[in-house]
């Protein structure tokens, strides 16, 4: 329990600030909705004249209208997703590499504690932080929509299906980060790795939007959990989501096996 508490305290220091930022992001974006809804017809007309590839690159290619609450929210959620991806990846690259980056490995690993216990405690602490983030996203979504929906109604169940995708989506980035950590000798700059992974896969999905087809989307959870698709169909695209689930399971298993046998080097 001591490692879990220690680790969680470290997350807690920055977590509230991050939750606040996500809240502000949603509020600010949703604040434009009433104006947008008023001139809905015109906005849709403008968008129609944009090149289709450009809209697809921004995840607006599906047939959702920016004039509806959920249609507009998918556009907001795309930005939220990007932030969540960075966070998930950051935690993934961070949580096992911390001791070796800060050179405190000798301290922790020479204590009477098994590798499994270290890994599980750290993993659960990071997961707790992600669950709290998820809660904050759900809360701020409802507040933002309630404040700015402009009296318009929306389908609550579809919104829930969309928000429920957050944990799996973040776990994908988290697991990849973890896997890369145990495959390399030392992660020096966590943030740049996290940004590269999150933006890289985002761009990959944007390219898929432009090029068309599914191939480029296979590796990107931005495709597996495309907000517009979820809102439009009211469910997750099972044929894409299983890729995410498989990647999470495999990365976690491999990371665990490798971590148990990892050599903790001196400086």
């Amino acid at each position: 329990m001591n490692i879990y508490i220690f680790e969680f305290k470290m997350y807690a220091r920055s977590l509230w600030l991050w939750a606040l930022a996500l809240f502000a992001l949603q509020i600010i974006f949703m604040a434009f909705y009433p104006a947008m809804a008023k001139d809905a017809a015109m906005i849709d007309l403008i968008l129609e004249h944009y090149p289709k590839e450009l809209l697809q690159a921004f995840g607006m290619g599906e047939s959702v209208s920016l004039a509806t609450v959920l249609g507009y929210y998918t556009f907001v959620f795309a930005f939220v997703q990007l932030c969540l991806a960075v966070q998930g990846a950051y935690y993934g690259f961070h949580f096992l590499s911390l001791e070796e980056r800060e050179l405190t490995a000798d301290f922790l690993f020479s204590k009477p504690v098994t590798r499994t216990k270290i890994l599980v405690s750290k993993y659960v602490a990071a997961l707790t932080a992600l669950v709290i983030t998820h809660g904050a996203v759900i809360g701020s979504t409802f507040v933002a929509i309630a404040l700015f929906r402009d009296g318009k109604s929306y389908e609550l169940d579809k919104l829930f299906v969309l928000l429920a995708s957050v944990p799996v989506f973040q776990l994908f980035f988290f697991s990849i980060g973890m896997l890369v950590t145990v495959l390399t000798t030392k992660i020096r700059n966590v943030l740049s790795y996290a940004m590269a992974l999150a933006f890289g896969l985002h761009i990959l999905n944007a390219l898929r939007g432009i090029v068309g087809g599914r191939l480029l989307g296979i590796a990107s959870p931005f495709y597996h959990f495309e907000p517009a698709n979820i809102i439009e169909t009211g469910g997750w695209a099972a044929d894409r989501v299983w890729i995410s689930v498989l990647v999470i399971l495999c990365s976690t298993l491999i990371s665990y096996k490798l971590y148990l046998k990892r050599n903790i080097h001196a400086l």
């Binding site: 800060e102 405190t104 020479s110 009477p112």
Partner: protein
């Protein structure tokens, strides 16, 4: 009883040698020195014993239990002080020590207070504000706060001023009197000489010799200096002489063997002055590294 038993321990980092077929044992209650130059494999050995790295082959037992299989169990009774100390920078010293203590099923508060008072350590400062020497003190306190039965020190005195070093040594001696076994790695021979009962000498990944520190100093070699007008190197050709050095009217050498033989040889020459000394550990050490 052996507290530590190392058997053919080998570690390769890819193709690079760490240690090769290292075997020796440390008895309960000993202060055991582990000496060798940088890169000889001292830290590799210690890190393998602690389960920080995994051996390529061979095994080691601590308190009679395999140090990898029962790693977390044997580490309950091990206190470790690494050569370079790093702690969570943003934390206060007391919080680091409390975190360290939380890994053991006993109340270490009293011991923390005693040790930090002895080492003159300020508990309320942040780790990042500490000098290297003070971080080292944190290391000493966190390594000893659970009153371990086996204390592993990896070049522990770097960064401590002479006064603190002396305090640290007396602390270690005290722990030893209270029943702790000490495993002490160093490349500074004088401190090994001061503290240890036995030493293992490691060179290029392999153990060269395990010996009583007394035997190492007294029984083997004599350092002989002979002065006189008629003295020349050509007179000293008998077996057991090494490192023969000739200067004007002076000959120096190391001698190993029956002391009577060399005394007779010298008495037949007619010399001006004679000096027979025990070599310093440094000199013995250099001998092993030739």
């Amino acid at each position: 009883m052996n507290v530590l038993e190392i058997n053919q321990l080998t570690k390769f980092y890819g193709n690079a040698r760490g240690i090769e077929n290292v075997s020796f044992s440390v008895k309960e209650g000993e202060i055991f020195g582990f000496i060798g130059p940088n890169g000889a494999g001292k830290s590799t050995t210690i890190r393998t014993l602690l389960g920080l790295i995994y051996p390529t082959s061979g095994s080691a037992k601590i308190f009679g239990k395999d140090c990898i299989k029962y790693g977390s169990e044997v580490r309950k009774e091990i206190g470790y002080l690494p050569s370079e100390v790093f702690y969570y920078d943003k934390m206060k010293v007391i919080d680091v020590l409390k975190y360290a203590a939380s890994f053991f099923d006993k109340d270490c508060t009293k011991r923390i207070d005693e040790l930090s008072e002895m080492m003159e350590l300020n508990l309320n400062r942040r780790v990042e504000d500490l000098s290297y020497g003070n971080k080292k003190k944190v290391g000493i306190v966190q390594g000893l706060l659970h009153s371990p039965k086996l204390i592993m020190l990896d070049e522990p005195t770097s960064g401590l001023d002479p006064l603190m070093q002396q305090k640290f040594f007396s602390l270690i001696e005290q722990e030893n009197k209270n029943g702790a076994t000490i495993f002490f790695s160093s490349h500074i021979l004088s401190e090994v000489q001061q503290l240890c009962n036995r030493v293992a000498i490691i060179k290029a990944g392999s153990i060269v010799k395990v010996e009583d520190i007394k035997t190492l100093r007294e029984d083997n070699y004599k350092k002989v200096t002979v002065r006189g007008e008629k003295v020349s190197a050509a007179l000293f050709t008998m077996e057991g002489i090494s490192e023969l050095l000739e200067e004007p009217a002076t000959v120096r050498f190391f001698y190993k063997g029956d002391i009577n033989v060399i005394v007779q040889a010298i008495s037949s020459i007619g010399i001006g002055d004679l000096l027979v000394e025990n070599p310093t550990l440094e000199e013995i050490f250099m001998h092993y590294y030739k």
